[in-house]
């Protein structure tokens, strides 16, 4: 069934259509989730969580043609929420154990993650969608519900800050927005 019909049917309460719609875009959704979570298990959990939230609220979506950006937005929100939860849990674990598990992770990757995590969420979101998921500026604008000009500005500012944070060895800099 064509994508639009699936979205229409899903908004009308057709569970199978909603699943088929998500399944069409599962790799895109998983890619977004993986960009935030950096591991398979968490990314799958976020996919599941987004499907759960999506189906719970599907009938409130007024424009079926906006279903994909809407679902991607849900994935992003699920990931951000989960990362916040993990941050709280991690702090507790570290305080209790005081140990660090060495992993085979490159310094560059850690630096990049650290730098990205220190960006404002809006900058982090646009960079992840643009460079990790190969989305275009209009697609990102649709997903985040912002004007294309705003997305371009955020990308510019985000990259500027990212450069600053990477070049200074992850030292926390003042935001320049």
């Amino acid at each position: 069934m064509e994508e639009h019909n699936l979205a229409v049917a899903a908004c009308r309460g057709d569970e199978e259509a909603f699943f088929n719609f998500l399944s069409l875009h599962k790799r895109k959704l998983y890619g977004v989730a993986f960009s935030y979570m950096h591991n398979e298990a968490d990314a799958l959990d976020m996919l599941q969580e987004a499907a759960y939230k999506g189906w719970s609220k599907c009938r409130t979506l007024k424009d079926p043609d906006a279903m994909l950006p809407w679902v991607i937005r849900i994935v992003i929100h699920c990931c951000i929420e989960e990362l916040r939860r993990q941050k709280r849990r991690q702090r507790i674990v570290l305080e209790q154990s005081g140990t660090y598990t060495p992993e085979m992770v490159s310094v560059a990757k850690l630096d990049m993650e650290k730098a990205l995590n220190r960006l404002k969420p809006k900058y982090k979101n646009v960079i992840i969608l643009r460079y990790y998921n190969d989305m275009t500026v209009p697609e990102i604008a649709q997903i985040l519900g912002r004007a294309e000009g705003t997305v371009k500005t955020w990308l510019h500012q985000g990259l500027k800050q990212l450069r600053w944070k990477i070049n200074y060895g992850g030292e926390l800099q003042h935001d320049q927005s």
Binding site: M1, E2, H4, N5, V8, A9, R12, G13, D14, E15, E16, F18, F19, L22, S23, K26, R27, Y30, G31, F34, S35, H38, E40, A41, A43, L44, D45, L47, Q48, E49, A50, A51, Y52, K53, G54, W55, S56, S106, A108, K109, D111, M112, L116, I127, Y131, Y132, N133, D134, L159, L162, R163, I166
Partner: protein, 478 residues
């Protein structure tokens, strides 16, 4: 940005793309289904159950069609042909709505336009009606192995569009109504304005080899209207049969074969791509299958790309370089993958990118469980393990967790079992199974104390008998 920062961002992007490439369809679908099921379970009970039952029925039907290779035709139909609007004629222009159905650079659309330019498109404007449903074949593109029909349907009963029935895919019949060797491959619809009765779309049929397609044939299609919101009225379906005469343009018999040799050996399986056959509307990649571990593996799902230039993974997703994957046919010795054709763009190079393939066996695996110990007493595969879940168990219910492999957390714990087990007396009983990512598959056996053990379960699919092959470096084949 400096080169270093570019490189760091590219590394991050590569990590994501690799992860996406490695994720199996089943794993992703399972996560989505679980989320939707959880949400559905929290909604109203009876409706949810109805929807789930419907979904299972639809999925079963689709699966049956996919695996068995075509469901039986609808029993009985009425045919009221509408007179054809004159002789068919060659026309370079394919219907305008077809162009709106695909991205401008989509290779499928490029292929259709090139085929039309070479005289393979013919206007038909041939209609049949029954029960208020009208099917009109506006035109067709055909070569010696593939038929692409451009159609519209109209629902004369209500302002709701029609769609092809899930349960009865289109069939090709000869003049006497007998099934032909060719079969339905896929169909898609144009974007529809809301609540209007007209559907516009295309249907694609394939014959394995050139020379199998008769000059005259009939196409049987079954249509259902989209269900109105909140309606629980049963959906009306109608079967429509339309006769079609194949129009052979001067290029309809064009076909080319290129020998290729791409070997992919993983996990005791060897796939050797041996031949590429291109006609104006289809590219076939033929392959041989060999197993070094003696496992008879019959069902295959494969994902591969043919791209017109060597590209980084992220660019490979572009439609302008990638040929659309249509279908895989497989036998125990080999098979063929059907893709969109680039016959009229043959000056372009082609790169074969093998992403993933999975094989399923033709038989189930049997395990036996001692319900008192909550332990496996018989298994043909030492990698299968079982753990009792005391916290989830009670006098009325035995909860177990089935896992595969030795890694923790369990990465490959997906099991699909038949939905009943048999007790020591050979009596079947139902149980519940649920897969949890990275944990394994939970089995919940109600009233287990009433039945004599051991219990025998049949595993249809698990990671030990579904064989997975992963991404390989792309190779130039033309």
């Amino acid at each position: 940005m400096t080169n270093h920062e570019d490189w760091m961002i590219e590394m991050g992007g590569q990590e994501v793309r690799q992860a996406v490439g490695m994720a199996s369809d089943r794993m992703l679908d399972e996560a989505l289904r679980k989320g939707i099921r959880r949400a559905a379970a929290e909604q109203t009970g009876p409706m949810s159950r109805f929807r789930t039952a419907k979904r299972v029925r639809v999925a079963s039907a689709v699966l049956a069609v996919l695996l068995v290779g075509g469901a039986g035709a609808a029993a009985g139909y009425k045919l009221y042909p509408v007179p054809a609007a004159g002789e068919s004629q060659t026309n370079v222009q394919i219907p305008a709505y077809v162009e709106k159905m695909f991205d401008k650079s989509d290779n499928f659309l490029v292929m259709l336009k090139q085929a039309a330019e070479h005289g393979l498109y013919h206007k038909l404007n041939q209609s049949v009606s029954t029960g208020g449903y009208t099917l009109n074949i506006e035109g067709m593109v055909s070569d010696s192995r593939r038929i692409i029909l451009f159609y519209t349907t109209e629902n004369g009963n209500e302002s709701l569009p029609l769609r092809l029935s899930y349960n009865h895919p289109p069939q090709l019949l000869d003049g006497q109504g007998r099934p032909l060797e060719g079969s339905f491959t896929w169909a898609t619809y144009a974007k529809l304005p809301k609540d209007q009765p007209l559907t516009k779309g295309i249907m694609i049929f394939d014959f394995k080899e050139s020379g199998q397609m008769p000059e005259k044939l009939q196409i049987q299609t079954t249509w259902s209207q989209l269900k109105p919101k909140g309606s629980n009225v049963s959906i009306k379906t109608e079967s429509l049969i339309i006769p079609v005469t194949i129009q052979n343009g001067p290029h309809a018999r064009d076909i080319e074969e290129h020998p290729i040799h791409v070997d992919i050996s993983q996990s005791g399986q060897q796939i050797t791509f041996t031949k590429m056959i291109q006609s104006p509307l289809r590219t076939d990649l033929e392959f041989d299958l060999k197993s070094s571990n003696g496992k008879k593996l019959e069902k295959i799902e494969a994902t591969l790309n043919l791209a017109s230039e060597e590209k980084q993974a992220k660019h490979r997703q572009n439609y302008d370089t990638m040929l659309r994957f249509d279908r895989t046919l497989v036998t125990p010795e080999g098979g063929a993958v059907y893709l969109t054709s680039s016959f009229y763009s043959e000056h372009r190079e082609l790169w074969l990118k093998f992403y993933h393939a999975s094989f399923e066996p033709d038989h189930e695996v049997e395990i036996a469980i001692d319900p008192k110990q909550g332990a496996l007493v018989q298994t043909p595969d030492s990698q299968i393990s079982l753990k009792q879940e005391p916290e989830k168990s009670s006098d009325q219910k035995l909860a177990l967790r089935l896992m595969y492999g030795s890694q923790q957390p369990v990465q490959d714990g997906y099991f699909e079992l038949k939905d009943t087990f048999t007790d020591a007396d050979g009596q079947p009983h139902p149980f519940v199974q649920e897969y949890q990512a990275a944990e394994g598959t939970y089995l919940s056996i109600p009233n287990y104390q009433k039945y004599p053990g051991p219990f025998t379960f049949e595993i249809v699919k698990y990671w030990g008998n579904v064989l997975e092959m992963h991404e390989e470096k792309e190779q130039r084949i033309r």
